[in-house]
């Protein structure tokens, strides 16, 4: 015995009916008569929480049923089963499994799918996009934290000349523009812009006497340019930003945040390693020691952390601090060992 309310689809009038299973048919019984619906053609709405279920047959109207247990009983006798998705939506265990799977999927997509997709797109990006990104970034940086270089014209020319003499792997172009600037706030640093310019700060030039060490840094930055790391970072953080904005429900914040993303973009560990590898290949191609890069890295770190100057012990090299995973730059020492094993 299953009681239901029947609506004929032509008026809003409710009719109290009872539904019985009659072989391959459902028998709708009311005070005014009986109707038989062939079971296979009856559309039975899926179970969704404790909401009323709905049986409908062609354009013959529908029944609303609130007695879930009685309907389940009737369906069991008729041999109709729940579909698996229905089960999924009602089990607490499955809800927990789903929650965990969401986290794992998102992490995996963030770690593997996103960098891969960004690389595929970035490597095909037209030069105009890269130039535009480079120009606007340099303009913003000039405005915010960079000053004119105080380096002598002779020294600048000397560095440019040395750099243009470098041979690069894969016959990559060497006409990257070196932009001389100074910035007491950023300290000893150099960074690549998407259009192929490398911003070289006076503070970095002052950190070493060895021009080849500067070449090692430039080769590293060249790796960032060659592998289009800036664009890849922008793409990756845009996708993350888009998803976060969608989740938080506000698209408009995204559009205004793109310049900020560009400014804050720090390369991922993978990208730093990739650029290191590129620099090592460049140095070897030019008959220079890869250790130039690692020695320069140590000098840069010393310039940034003056207090921490004592030589590291082997224990330190094996120890990965938890901070390592958080920072986007792989610990300098770890990189130095990778680049130059006898370091």
């Amino acid at each position: 015995m299953l009681s239901a309310r029947y609506y004929d689809g032509k008026t809003a009038t409710a009719h109290e009916v009872t539904i019985l299973l009659d072989g391959a048919h459902l028998l709708l019984h009311s005070a005014n008569g009986n109707v038989r619906w062939p079971l296979t053609d009856v559309d039975i709405s899926e179970r969704l929480g404790n909401t009323p279920r709905r049986l409908s047959y062609a354009d013959q109207g529908h029944c609303e049923i609130t007695d879930q247990a009685a309907l389940d009983e009737l369906l069991r006798h008729s041999g109709i089963h729940h579909d698996w998705l229905e089960h999924l939506h009602h089990s607490l265990i499955w809800a927990s499994v789903a929650a965990i799977l969401i986290v794992i999927t998102l992490l995996a997509a963030y770690r593997y799918l996103l960098p891969w997709g960004a690389e595929v797109i970035a490597m095909r990006a037209p030069a105009t996009v890269l130039n535009k990104m480079g120009n606007s970034t340099l303009d913003t940086l000039d405005h915010v934290m960079l000053q004119a270089s105080k380096l002598s014209a002779a020294r600048q020319q000397e560095l440019v000349a040395a750099y243009s003499r470098l041979k690069t792997p894969d016959a990559a172009p060497t006409n990257y523009r070196i932009v001389f600037r100074s910035s007491p706030r950023m300290g000893a640093n150099a960074f690549a812009l998407p259009d192929g310019s490398i911003v070289l700060l006076d503070e970095l030039v002052a950190a070493t006497q060895n021009t080849n060490e500067i070449m090692a840094v430039l080769a590293h930055e060249g790796g960032h340019i060659e592998r289009r790391h800036a664009l890849r970072m922008v793409l990756q953080s845009s996708v993350v930003g888009l998803l976060v904005a969608w989740y938080a429900g506000d698209i408009s914040t995204l559009l205004s945040s793109i310049p900020a993303v560009l400014l804050q973009a720090r390369y991922s560990r993978d990208m730093e390693n990739e650029a290191d590898l590129y620099a090592v290949r460049t140095l070897q191609l030019n008959g220079l020691s890869p250790c130039l890069l690692s020695s320069m890295l140590s000098k840069l770190e010393a310039a940034h952390v003056p207090a921490k100057t004592e030589p590291p012990t082997t224990e330190d090299t094996n120890h990965k601090s938890p901070l390592d995973y958080l920072s986007s730059h792989p610990a300098t020492l770890e990189r130095a060992v990778l680049i130059c094993p006898r370091h």
Partner: protein, 344 residues
């Protein structure tokens, strides 16, 4: 085996109960946060795993859950939208959205051209969207429908907003009133049309009060900054309180001015409970990194629906079916993608 209907099948001839005196029916909402959480999280998982494809099915499931948990006079609402139709609409909307974003970045002129194109298409889409939404909603076996014409849509969704902008938004409350009037007067349940009686004056009253409160608060903040008072950090929080005012008063005004046939709707939301729900929802969502979202949705929905009622002059059973029409989901998905609020 052959399941052809037997010969004795006849349309049922049931007799409706006798009519009665006027009565007020409250909307009831029976959704539960924990129940919806399970649906929500499985929807989210499948959407992520299918790179968004499942989102159309997820939407249908969500709509089913909300509609079927909304009751009036013992009967529940029903959603009939088809996932495939929604998916098609979403794909086209996503392509246009990406096109619009890219066009603006590649060439500002192209971006402007795209924007104008969208502005011209939008009213047409909104009409399709409303048709889809209403056509796919039913109650007591009768479908809702939207009969608004394109001409009216271009007037209220394109011309009026342009005029409003040109008059420094002096005409914005009027534009809002015109939208609601167009929307409600073109909607019907079965063969019975909705009515809308609020004039522009009552919209102006709400917007002017809002403007007054915003001005007063701005002056207070200005004074606080001038006086170097620590209040200058606390006062901006009052903006949240002020923005709740239209969020409560506008739906009240709109529904209290809406009727269907001889019956009238009532909405009695209040500011303090609404504010309490909004603020606690927000805090809980932040603290649970979003896991509270389904609970928050249910809480807010319950508050809104349970403060709505229908004052009926006669039995609700006397509504009859009207004409049906063909609809597509494109408009609905487009307008949600481009963030056009056409909340009914």
């Amino acid at each position: 085996m052959n399941f052809a209907p037997p010969d004795n099948i006849q349309p049922a001839t049931f007799i409706s109960p006798a009519p009665v005196t006027p009565q007020t029916y409250r909307f009831e909402f029976t959704g539960s946060g924990s129940e919806y959480f399970k649906i929500w999280i499985v929807n989210l998982l499948l959407t992520v795993l299918t790179l968004g494809i499942y989102s159309a099915w997820a939407k249908v499931r969500r709509m089913h859950y909300f509609y079927r948990n909304t009751h009036l006079d013992g009967a529940n609402f029903e959603y009939h939208g088809m996932p495939i139709a929604i998916l098609k609409g979403r794909l086209i909307a996503a392509l246009l959205f990406i096109g619009y974003s890219v066009a603006g970045n590649v060439n500002p002129l192209l971006g402007i051209a795209f924007f104008i194109l969208l502005a011209i298409v939008m009213p047409w889409l909104i009409v399709r969207s409303l048709r889809f939404q209403l056509h796919n909603s039913s109650y007591r076996g009768l479908r809702f429908a939207f009969d608004g014409d394109d001409r009216g849509a271009y007037r209220v969704f394109l011309l009026n907003p342009i005029f409003a902008a040109m008059t420094l938004y002096l005409m914005a409350p009027y534009a809002h009133q015109q939208i609601k009037q167009y929307q409600h007067r073109s909607s019907r349940f079965g063969a019975t049309y909705f009515s809308f009686t609020a004039g522009a004056g009552s919209f102006y009253a709400i917007y002017l009060k809002l403007l007054g409160m915003l001005l007063a608060l701005s002056i207070l903040i200005g004074v606080a900054i001038y006086e170097q008072s620590p209040l200058m950090f606390g006062l901006p929080l009052l903006f949240v309180f002020i923005m709740v005012y239209p969020a409560v008063k506008l739906p009240n005004l709109i529904w209290n001015s809406t009727g269907i046939g001889r019956h009238r709707f009532y909405s009695t939301q209040e500011i303090l409970p609404y504010l309490w729900i909004s603020v606690t929802n927000l805090l809980a969502i932040v603290c649970t990194l979003g896991l509270f979202v389904p609970f928050a949705t249910i809480r807010m929905m319950r508050y809104k629906l349970e403060h709505m009622a229908l004052h009926a002059q006669s039995e609700l059973s006397e509504f009859v079916a009207g004409q049906t029409q063909n609809t597509s989901a494109l408009g609905e998905e487009m307008s949600t993608m481009f963030d056009v609020d056409i909340a009914l």
